[in-house]
Every structure is written in structure tokens, then in C-alpha cells.
């Protein structure tokens, strides 16, 4: 007998009835008309579901397409193209019942064949899809009839619903005829908006889908305007030229805008970790004691107060408190204590040399940290840390580089250390971190290898009991906080502004990007 998966323990899965109740409970009456304008910090390079790895592109493209489910702004899974699903007790077989009467923008009927086509296209290595990794544990996909899709996994994968069931669906015939490259500029989906205009460096205009199966959007159009500079985006919000900015504004501008009454503001802790990744095979950085000493030498609270102007909090490990259910605050703590730092280094045999730099067995306490070119916000953290480490006898040299080169160089061990924000579990509300913390992971920036962590990561993705799963990820955080392949600095806040004329916004938000899945429910009142 099939039963609803304990995969529901991953994040809540809403039913259609719950959604209907919530909609009925809404007091205000929407107004139809106007254009909602969102600002993008980058050119919109594509309108295909295969290019949703970048946040603002996802926010844009997810208004053209739908998946079987979507992760909403409360980290809940909402049914969209699916009515419901059931999973086998062993978590290996998922059966989706699809909605009927849904059409693509070109009038083609949406059926299970479109889901089959999409999933198989992604799994076909020849297509070099950016979403292939999500389907790693998918064995087969079948469509026994037009309203049913059956996905069989090779092994249980608790992140399946978040990573796979939210995949945006292609129109089989249209996509096959055009090919992926042409489709990127001529998108056809089932989404609340249809393709209007695409000038990649300037704007995207999507028009309301009059026949959208969840109800015609209240706004007539959803427009994404490209404004590269944060100051420009702030100016655009202040003048009312736009309704929201997808990407962050400057910290000083956040404070200024929050002091006005012109916006609905959401302050949410991000799932990313601002951190220094360290190469654990480096002669100095490879010493756990050295890494712990480096942590004690940092006054991370001052980073939060002075660099991020209070818009961040000190991080403890790889997971952010934003993932409440899995977050573990009871891990090793590292208060700012330079004397303790020196003691740890002394005890570990790193004694001060004549030049003030510590050394041990001919190895100097010295390394190079790579910082992204043009990273004006985070670079001060590296410069200040450099001084604090110098005070305890560690030499850190800074070097700028191109982002993709630094990331690749950290993975292959070319570089010693870096500074950036990354998600080590928490994306979509799921704490999985196999590709970052697992041995040989494609985004393992630390050359890190720990057998217990590897086993826990594999167990975590398969554990259907929520309580046990939580313990697994808490244990991972304990180990990471002790071993410190990365020095967790801060969990930044995401502060998002919506112009007051935008109505229908939720009272509370856990995942602000999820609001952009709901543009069709918002409306504009001048």
C-alpha cells in the first residue's frame, strides 16, 4: 500500500484544499491592471528552465513555466501541475496525479508526456543540462496515462520532492521542434505569464496569461528591468520607477529605505554562509589546531556590526539558523580571543619565528587568500582578518582573481583559501550538502574528506524519519564546527523591499525569493 512519504517531513507539502482555504481567507479584493516591475542586477541571458540556476533568472523564468510542485515563500511545497502525489513506504516510487485541463501558452494540452519528456531530457547526458545532478538518483520515469507520472528512484532520496518535483516542465512538441538553444529565446510554458519581449541587457516583459489554470494574474504584465548598479536600483525604488529589486541593495541604503514608510520590508536570514574556505591539504591550513586558532583570532561580531552594518549575525557552522528545523546552535563556539589563539598555536608547536611569523618543522604559518575581483563589500573582511592573524603570527596574503577561476582552483586544490558566500545545505529548505562537504564533491572547496561526514550525508538523504534526519544534520554541523574546513563568519540578512503600491504580499516570509513564484496573486493599487 502506498502512503504519503515521510519526505513530507523534509518540508511541509500543502494540499490543494489548504491552498483554497488560504485564498478564501484573504480579506482584500485584488485589483486588475498595471505592470509589476522587478529590478535585476544582471542581464537576463535566457528564458529557458535549464537556466534557472541563477536566482534572478529563476524568479523570471518561473513565471513562464510551472513544475509539479513549487517551494513557496514559507518553505512549503505547493502543488501546481500536480494535484497530489503518493510515495511507496520504501521511498523509491513516487506517483503523481496531474491536473487536467491545463494548456501551454501555444494551446497544446499539458499531459504526463510533457513531464516524461522533460525529465528524460534532463537525464540525457548529451544535453549537458544544468539540472542533471538533481536527477542523480532517478532510475526511470513513466507515464502510464496522460494524468499520471511514476518516478522510480535507485535509492531513497528525501530531497526528491524539492530537487526534482519542482523542475519546470517543457512543452514536449515545441521544445523538441525548436531545440534548447532556440527555446531559450522563444519560451512556451504553462506559467501565469506568457512571453512578451526579451532584450537581455535591458528588460524582459511577460504578459498575463488570460487562461492560466490557477487564475489570471491580477497584473497585466510582469516586467524585469536590468539595473546593474545597486545605487541605481535604490534610486529606482525611491522614485517609484520599480516595485522591488531581486538582488540586495547596499547596506547603507537598506538602513535609509527602512526608515521611510514607503515600502513593505522583509528581513530574513539567508541560508548562505559568509566564510573563508580553507584548503585542508595545505601545510599550515591542514592543521586543525591552526584553523581553530584562526577562528579565535577573528572578531566576527565586528564584521557584522561594522562591515554589514548590523545586517548579519555570527555563523556557527555550515547551516544557517534560517533552516530552523535542522539548525544546531550547540556546536563548538569561537569567541574573539587572540590570547587563546596564540595558546593553541603554541600548544600545536607553531612557534614564533624571528620575522614574527610562526613556523613548525620548517613550515611557515603563511598562505594566500583569493578574493573575487571587484568584491568591494567582502574584501574588508579579508583585510581586517589579515591584520588579526598577523597579530597572532599568521601571515595571510591577499590576491584578487576571477570568480570562476577561484572556485575551480579551490576545488582542485590550486588555491589556499578564499572568501565568499555559499550554501552548504539549506537550498529550498533542504539541508543536503553532498556536493560541498562530501569527499570529492564538485563544490568541495576545501579538499575536505571525513568518512563520518560522508556516511552521514548519504544517510541523511535516505532517512525518512524526520527526527532521525534532524539528528544526522545536527551531527554534521558539530563535526564541521570542530574541524573547520571553512571558517564560518556570518549569516547575512536578506532585506527585501516592496513598494507600498504592491498588495497581496504575505505577512511573514521565510524565503523571499518564493514571493516571485506568486507574482500572479499580487496586485497594484496606485
Amino acid at each position: 500500500m502506498l502512503k504519503a512519504a515521510a519526505a513530507a517531513g523534509l518540508i511541509p507539502v500543502l494540499s490543494g484544499a489548504t491552498l483554497a482555504q488560504r485564498a478564501a481567507a484573504q480579506d482584500a479584493q485584488p485589483v486588475r491592471g498595471s505592470t509589476y516591475i522587478m529590478l535585476s542586477q544582471d542581464a537576463i541571458e535566457s528564458l529557458s528552465p535549464d537556466d534557472t540556476t541563477e536566482g534572478v533568472q529563476n524568479a523570471t523564468i518561473s513565471n513562464l513555466f510551472d513544475g509539479l510542485y513549487v517551494v513557496n515563500e514559507q518553505y512549503e511545497l505547493e502543488p501546481v501541475l500536480a494535484d497530489s502525489y503518493e510515495a511507496s513506504e520504501d521511498g523509491l516510487v513516487y506517483t503523481f496525479t496531474l491536473k487536467s485541463g491545463v494548456t501551454f501558452h501555444n494551446g497544446d494540452a499539458f499531459t504526463a508526456q510533457d513531464v516524461l519528456y522533460t525529465y528524460n531530457w534532463i537525464m540525457d547526458e548529451a544535453n549537458a543540462s544544468t539540472r542533471t545532478a538533481n536527477f542523480e538518483l532517478v532510475d526511470t520515469v513513466e507515464a502510464p496515462d496522460d494524468q499520471t507520472v511514476v518516478v522510480t528512484l535507485k535509492e531513497a532520496d528525501v530531497s526528491f520532492m524539492v530537487n526534482v518535483a519542482t523542475t519546470l516542465i517543457y512543452p514536449k512538441d515545441d521544445h523538441a521542434a525548436k531545440g534548447e538553444d532556440a527555446f531559450k529565446g522563444e519560451p512556451v510554458g504553462t506559467g501565469p505569464f506568457t512571453y512578451g519581449e526579451w532584450a537581455p541587457q535591458q528588460r524582459v516583459v511577460l504578459n498575463a496569461n488570460e487562461d492560466y489554470f490557477r487564475g489570471r494574474p491580477n497584473v497585466d504584465a510582469f516586467q524585469v528591468d536590468v539595473v546593474l548598479e545597486a545605487a541605481g536600483r535604490t534610486a529606482a525604488l525611491e522614485t517609484g520607477q520599480a516595485d522591488s529589486s531581486f538582488w540586495y541593495l547596499n547596506a547603507e541604503d537598506n538602513i535609509r529605505l527602512m526608515e521611510t514608510d514607503d515600502f513593505t520590508v522583509y528581513e530574513v536570514l539567508q541560508v548562505t554562509v559568509n566564510h573563508f574556505p580553507l584548503n585542508t591539504t595545505h601545510p599550515f591550513l591542514g592543521d586543525k589546531a591552526a584553523r581553530q586558532a584562526m577562528m579565535f583570532a577573528l572578531d566576527r561580531q565586528s564584521f557584522a556590526d561594522d562591515i554589514f552594518l548590523g545586517q548579519a549575525q555570527v555563523a556557527t557552522s555550515n547551516l544557517s539558523p534560517a533552516i530552523e528545523k535542522y539548525y544546531n546552535p550547540d556546536v563548538a563556539q569561537y569567541e574573539f580571543d587572540p590570547e587563546k589563539s596564540k595558546q593553541i598555536l603554541d600548544d600545536a608547536g607553531w612557534s614564533e619565528g624571528s620575522d614574527g611569523i610562526r613556523e613548525k618543522d620548517g613550515v611557515k604559518a603563511q598562505f594566500t587568500m583569493m578574493v573575487f575581483q571587484g568584491d568591494t563589500q567582502r574584501r574588508p573582511e579579508a583585510e581586517i582578518a589579515q591584520q588579526w592573524w598577523a597579530d597572532v603570527g599568521i601571515q595571510c596574503d591577499l590576491q584578487e582573481g576571477i570568480t570562476s577561476d577561484i572556485l575551480a582552483g579551490l576545488v582542485d586544490g590550486t588555491y589556499d583559501a578564499g572568501l565568499f558566500n555559499w550554501v552548504y545545505g539549506g537550498s529550498g529548505g533542504d539541508p543536503d550538502a553532498r556536493d560541498t562537504l562530501g569527499t570529492g564533491g564538485a563544490n568541495n572547496f576545501f579538499q575536505y574528506s571525513n568518512e563520518e561526514v560522508d556516511q552521514l550525508l548519504q544517510d541523511g538523504i535516505r532517512e525518512l524519519d524526520e527526527a532521525k534526519r534532524i539528528e544526522i544534520y545536527k551531527r554534521i554541523q558539530e563535526i564541521i564546527a570542530d574541524e573547520l574546513p571553512l571558517l564560518p563568519l556570518l549569516n547575512p540578512q536578506q532585506i527585501v523591499f516592496f513598494a507600498n503600491r504592491v498588495k497581496g504580499l504575505p505577512e511573514k516570509v521565510l524565503y523571499p525569493d518564493g514571493i516571485y513564484q506568486k507574482i500572479y496573486t499580487l496586485w497594484i493599487e496606485e
Partner: protein, 308 residues
């Protein structure tokens, strides 16, 4: 003249070839991994990254990649953009170049319309208030970075006064700030140059002769002085126009102007070789042609050059 043109054009083709080769090798050896840029922070496996690299030929040897590109170019195919496969490179560049050209033509026109008469007048009325004011103004215009002026202009005219849009290129109003800001530095440079060359020409013997013959000052200036004073200015303008398409990237960023500079920067950041090559070829062609045009214009204006 025909022989001269053929010679210059042949030299231009050689320059294009060498520049394309140089650009290719700079991009080829540039550190970074375009495949990682494409996947961003998404979950990824090494096999997936390799598949993306294979798809775009990033694992192919350099001679194969260069050969493929040259081969396609000969048939007029600029290739497919890695960062934006849904749009043809030709369309991408045409749209972007068009926007940059509009901005620069308007800015240059405005700069010339103001700088030439002001600079000439300042030279003929030396040590007057206008002379001092224009000299001071041109010093400020050259010294102050135009991106700072741009940001201040947005704060004043968009945010504080609400007169003009903060970004975009939709309406005539959205052209005002970027055109004016871009014209400031050019205006300042042209004004200083024309003032200096006019003063120099005013001290020439033939000008003294013209005055001695009883010609009115304005006739002396407009008929004899300006034409001679313009020669260095034409050379400078020709030189600067050659870089018209590539020199505005900072301002394009400040005003979110969808121009060629921004496209070029994006292509380099994403290591999109096809787009970078195409833009470099375009810019090189423009420089080569503008150098030829400048030489020919000089010959038209200065009969001595024709004789030579």
C-alpha cells in the same frame, strides 16, 4: 588615391587577423571555468561540468577551436554565444552597438556644439570672464570622473527632483542624463584643445596680414583661423571616435545603458569566446576605418597634405 586606399585596407585586414589571434590566445589562457559560471551555486557533479565543457568545445585543443571559428567566420557565421545561446551573436552586437552609438553620437554632437564656439570665443577673448570660466570648467570636466558625475546626476535629477528616470533607454527623457554626462568630458577636452590651437593660429603671420588688410575680426576668425585651428581637433576626434564603441562601459553600468561596453564586459566575465572575438573584430574594424577616414578628411581640409 585608389592605390593608397587599397594599401591601407590591406594593412587593415592584416591587423584584423593579428588582433583576432591575439584575442583568441588571451581568452584561451584566461584563468577560470565558464562551465562553473553557468551552473552557479546549483548542485553539480564533476561529470556534469565536464559534459557542459564538452558541449561548448572547451576541452578541444586550441587549434581546433580557432580553426572552427575562422572557418565559420569566412561563411559569415559568428557562432553561438555560450552565455546567451537563445540570441544570435550578430543580433546581440547590433542591438548593443546601436545603443552605444546613439549615446555617443548624441554626446559628441552636444560636446561639439558647445565646445567649439565656446573654445574659439574664449581664445579670441583671452583673460575675459568667459575665458576663465571655460578654462576652469574644462579642468573640472576632465578631472572629475564621469561615473561620479553620473551617480550625482541620478541622485539630484531622479531621486531628489524626480524630473528624469534613474535608468533605462525607453523614452527621450532617459537619454538626457547619460548623454549630458558623457558629453562633459569630451566637451572639456575639445574646448581646451580648440582654445589652444586657436590661440596658436591667431599669432600666425597670415592672421596679422589679414587684420592689416582691414578684415573684420569675425571674418578673420571664421574664414582664416577656425579652419586651421580645427586640424588637430579633427585628428583628436577621429582618434576618439574610433573608441566610441568601447569607451563607455563605466557609464553604461551607472545608467544601465544596454550598450556594447556592457556586453563586452559580460562576455569577458563569462569567458564567452565567440562574443568577445566578434566584438573585438568589430572594434578593430572601426578603428582601422576611422584612421583611414581621418587621414582622408585631413587631406580635404589641408591642401598641403593632398600635395604630399
Amino acid at each position: 588615391m585608389a592605390a593608397y586606399l587599397i594599401k591601407r585596407l590591406s594593412q587593415g585586414v592584416l591587423v584584423l587577423f593579428l588582433v583576432s589571434l591575439l584575442t583568441f590566445f588571451v581568452m584561451y589562457f584566461m584563468p577560470g571555468d565558464p562551465a562553473r559560471t553557468m551552473v552557479g551555486q546549483a548542485r553539480v557533479t564533476e561529470e556534469q561540468l565536464d559534459a557542459i565543457r564538452d558541449k561548448w568545445g572547451l576541452n578541444d585543443p586550441w587549434y581546433e577551436r580557432y580553426g572552427d571559428w575562422i572557418g565559420n567566420l569566412v561563411t559569415g557565421d559568428l557562432g553561438t554565444s555560450m552565455m546567451r545561446p537563445g540570441q544570435g551573436i550578430g543580433d546581440m552586437i547590433t542591438d548593443a552597438a546601436g545603443m552605444t552609438l546613439q549615446l555617443n553620437v548624441l554626446a559628441y554632437s552636444l560636446a561639439l556644439a558647445i565646445a567649439l564656439p565656446v573654445g574659439i570665443f574664449a581664445a579670441t577673448k583671452r583673460n575675459s570672464f568667459l575665458d576663465y570660466f571655460s578654462t576652469f570648467g574644462s579642468t573640472v570636466g576632465i578631472a572629475v570622473p564621469n561615473y561620479w558625475i553620473g551617480i550625482m546626476a541620478i541622485v539630484l535629477f531622479s531621486v531628489k527632483l524626480g524630473w528624469l528616470p534613474a535608468y533605462g533607454a525607453d523614452s527621450w527623457k532617459s537619454y538626457i542624463l547619460p548623454v549630458v554626462v558623457l558629453s562633459i568630458e569630451e566637451m572639456a577636452t575639445i574646448m581646451r584643445l580648440i582654445r589652444g590651437t586657436t590661440i596658436e593660429v591667431l599669432n600666425q603671420d597670415f592672421v596679422t596680414t589679414a587684420r592689416a588688410k582691414g578684415l573684420a575680426q569675425n571674418v578673420v576668425v571664421m574664414r582664416h583661423v577656425v579652419r586651421n585651428a580645427l586640424l588637430p581637433v579633427i585628428t583628436m576626434i577621429g582618434y576618439r571616435i574610433a573608441f566610441i564603441l568601447s569607451g563607455t562601459i563605466v557609464l553604461e553600468t551607472v545608467f544601465s545603458w544596454p550598450g556594447l561596453g556592457q556586453l563586452f564586459f559580460d562576455a569577458i566575465t563569462n569567458q564567452d569566446l565567440q562574443v568577445v572575438q566578434a566584438i573585438v573584430l568589430l572594434l578593430t574594424t572601426v578603428v582601422v576605418i576611422m584612421n583611414i577616414v581621418t587621414d582622408l578628411t585631413y587631406a580635404v581640409i589641408d591642401p598641403r597634405v593632398r600635395v604630399r
